[in-house]
């Protein structure tokens, strides 16, 4: 290893300068300013290597390396922890509410479909409670859609789905109003408008809403994975710093016959603290985020899917009666949805216990009651007792009617979903608290470690003067 440049600042320890080979020197000095600039790091690197062969030089290199490593660890660790905190806060403040918004879009639109069909089955003028339920559904769908749209920016798939819903929804409400107008005048074309609206809802809008919900759920899951993974790079840096500190102390003990170097011991202590604090805090936080998923968002997802399937099945039950004999396709749809939501309810029961579990139990009981009523309704309708079938299906005052059972089922599911969301929020909020002061703590400890290294190495360097 040779060099033509002797830097004035470099420590000149004992030992003889190796003979200088002449060849590269004139060439280098003759090179243009820019080419010379390129050579600077190479030159510096060589001079560092050269001085590292001598004890004081080597000590300086070790000291500088350790300080740099400590500061790097501090910066990387602080950023990683702050990033983690940001991710968790984003989960609480944005991601979860947005997933709830997209599920609200889906649910309220399915419910609007069911409610408008329900209103058609009622003879005479539309009951005010059905009218206001439909109005509420549409208003909620619109508000939730605006919320979901605000987040779809940059996610082409989600933006597509929001676009489809946003374009379809006004058309749907227009058709429903047209159906109402005709219905009020006693014109049978009103039922055809209702069916056209329902076709638009089922074939275009609801599939897009379902896709949007799935996209948002995926994004929630991804962010939870981000927030519960182990920060390997930071961990390697911390362990590397710790190893280097210990190795340096062993080296110093061997060469100076002194057992302890206070500065380096302080640095080691600070690093160990970073390691222990960071590991414990991150482990606790990861566990809490995971438990927020297991007890919160995952069961909520299952419940939401169960509820959507149930609402759609309810709409099918209505449309079968609206179609009156021409509704075989709707009934087939109902039969396909039935195992889906009963299966999902069973799955949710397996995931939840306590208050949420009790709500799912209630939901299951009412789902079974509804399904057996549905069989009666179908038997009545197929047996010619159409008006009895309609009464049993839509009249909420009939105690064992479909409307009452479905209402209770839906209510129990809403309660269970709210409990699950609360659990998610509690766990995730606690996960955030587990990281309290960790980011500034790492920064301070890293500075302490760097300071300790500086002190410790400087003490040893002084002995050479």
């Amino acid at each position: 290893m040779t060099s033509t440049v002797t830097r004035p600042g470099a420590p000149d320890g004992p030992g003889v300068q190796p003979p200088v080979p002449l060849s590269p020197a004139p060439q280098e000095s003759g090179r243009g300013g820019f080419a010379g600039l390129l050579d600077l790091p190479v030159t510096a690197f060589r001079s560092v290597l050269r001085s590292a062969r001598k004890s004081p030089g080597r000590l300086t290199v070790i000291g500088v390396g350790l300080v740099v490593l400590a500061l790097l660890t501090g910066v990387v660790g602080t950023i990683a922890v702050q990033d983690r905190k940001d991710t968790i806060n984003d989960l609480i403040d944005r991601r979860e509410p947005l997933t709830a918004a997209s599920q609200e879009v889906y649910r309220s639109l399915s419910d609007a479909d069911a409610t408008s069909a329900n209103a058609f089955l009622v003879i005479g003028t539309e009951p005010p409670e059905l009218r206001s339920r439909y109005d509420l559904d549409i208003a909620r769908a619109g508000a939730a859609l605006a919320k979901a749209a605000s987040d779809s920016e940059g996610v082409a798939d989600a933006a597509d789905k929001v676009n489809i819903i946003a374009r379809g929804l006004p058309v749907y409400t227009g058709l429903i109003e047209r159906a109402r107008t005709n219905n009020r005048q006693g014109y049978p074309v009103g039922a055809s408008y209702l069916r056209e609206a329902s076709t638009l809802m089922r074939q275009t809008i609801l599939p897009a809403a379902s896709d949007l919900y799935h996209i948002d759920t995926e994004r929630l899951l991804e962010e939870q994975d981000d927030a519960s993974g182990f920060p390997w790079f930071t961990a390697i840096l911390v362990l590397g710093l710790l190893g280097s500190l210990i190795a340096t102390q062993i080296y110093l003990t061997r060469h100076t016959n002194r057992l302890l170097n206070i500065g380096l011991v302080v640095a080691t202590g600070a690093t160990v603290l970073i390691f222990l604090w960071g590991t414990v805090a991150l482990l606790v936080q990861s566990l809490l985020v995971s438990s927020g998923d297991e007890d919160g968002s995952h069961p909520v997802d299952v419940l939401v899917r169960a509820r959507s399937a149930a609402v759609q099945a309810r709409a099918d039950e209505m449309m079968t009666l609206v179609a009156r004999g021409d509704g075989a396709a709707y009934e087939t749809n109902f039969q396909q949805l039935e195992p889906i939501f009963t299966g999902l309810l069973g799955e949710a029961r397996g995931l939840l216990d306590g208050a949420a579990g009790a709500q799912v139990d209630a939901a299951q009981v009412n789902a079974n009651a509804w399904l057996s009523t549905h069989k009666d309704v179908r038997a009545m309708d197929d047996g010619g007792a159409y008006s009895d079938a309609v009464k049993k299906a839509v009249d909420a005052s009939v105690p064992d009617g479909s409307a009452a059972s479905f209402g209770k089922l839906d209510e129990a599911l809403v309660n269970a979903i709210n409990i699950g969301r609360q659990d998610f929020l509690d766990d995730t909020r606690n996960a955030d608290r587990a990281l309290i002061l960790l980011a500034p703590g790492i920064a301070v400890l890293a500075v302490v470690a760097a300071g300790g290294v500086t002190m410790g190495i400087r003490d040893r360097l002084r002995e050479y003067r």
């Binding site: 058609f120 005479g124 676009n163 049978p188 074309v189 055809s192 009156r324 004999g325 021409d326």
Partner: protein, 381 residues
Amino acid sequence: MKTPFIRIGGLRGDAGGGTSGAPSLRDPLDGIARRRRCPREGTPENPLRCKPPSSQQAAAAAYKIPKRLAAVVAAVGLLLAGCGSAGTPVDPAPVGHVQAPEPDGVGGLEGAAAGGQAGNCDTRSLAPSSAIPAGSTMAKIKQRGRLIAGVDQTTYLFGFLNPSTGNLEGFDIEIVKQLATALFGSWQGHVQWTAIPSSQRENVLKNNTVDVVVRTYSITCSRLRDINFSSTYYQAGQRVLVPRNSGVRGLADLGARKVCATKSSTSLTAIAQAPSRPIPVSVNNWSDCLVLLQQGQVDAISTDDVILAGMAKQDPNLEVVGDRFTQENYGVGIPKGQDDMVRWVNSVLDGVRSNGTWQQNYNEWIAPVLGPASPPSVSYQ
């Protein structure tokens, strides 16, 4: 984009050799770029030499902050100019083709009833007989306690669901009530109404889901191969329903325009076979045709005048035009093989036509729209 290149040229000239550039004096931006460089080029003692003779520049030089601001603007301008065209404004929400909502199951000619009224078969029904012997089809229905009738709930005036009462009403519905009354003494509680789309009329009879189909059902040779028909209880003819201001006077004016009818109806076939070659559009129910016409997705509806009259009654902007160009004989559809049922239904229909019930029914539903008429004359095999 000529000026940006001039500006860049001027700047380069400055950077390289001070005064070697020949900047356009009319371009204030270029001037600023030059003046900023002047002191560095070593002519601080005579700032006037650097000052471009433009009034804007003089103003900019007078104040320090505007000068800097102007310099920044100039720099940004140069940067943008260097990047080439600024492009066109972006449409934030591009919307191309808008798909109008459609009723479920909109199609074209597929499934049109083969062969219309024309055919060389005997469309006359079997001679009536009012007897209900034990073991006959009627006896089984009587034992069951209810007559299962396939009807329409979307054809205003003939078979429709009255939204204000929740009951099925219309001319066809009255015929079913007459059949049930003849069998049970009263129709109340003895009829199971099954609303069927017109495409399902043959199917529900072939698999015996219903006892009778009374649903604006034209007697045709091709249908007679699969099912039985009663005698004719109503005579209709195909015409055209169009918006009042459309100027269309019949199918002849509808070449290459969309005309709606229900799937597997004789009307759909008649539209497809019209010499003017309209484009047939098929749907499940007649009301769906009205939906399409009101939404402007079809230009006309063509089918039996009674059905069209029902639609015109729901929308005063529509009118029935042209002459009848087919003759449709409505009969009660009965499953193949049930000859006893055919004869019994014919005897009931004979009574309906002759005892004034038909006239009363017609006057109630049809006469207000299509004017007076009398029962069709019937002959048997």
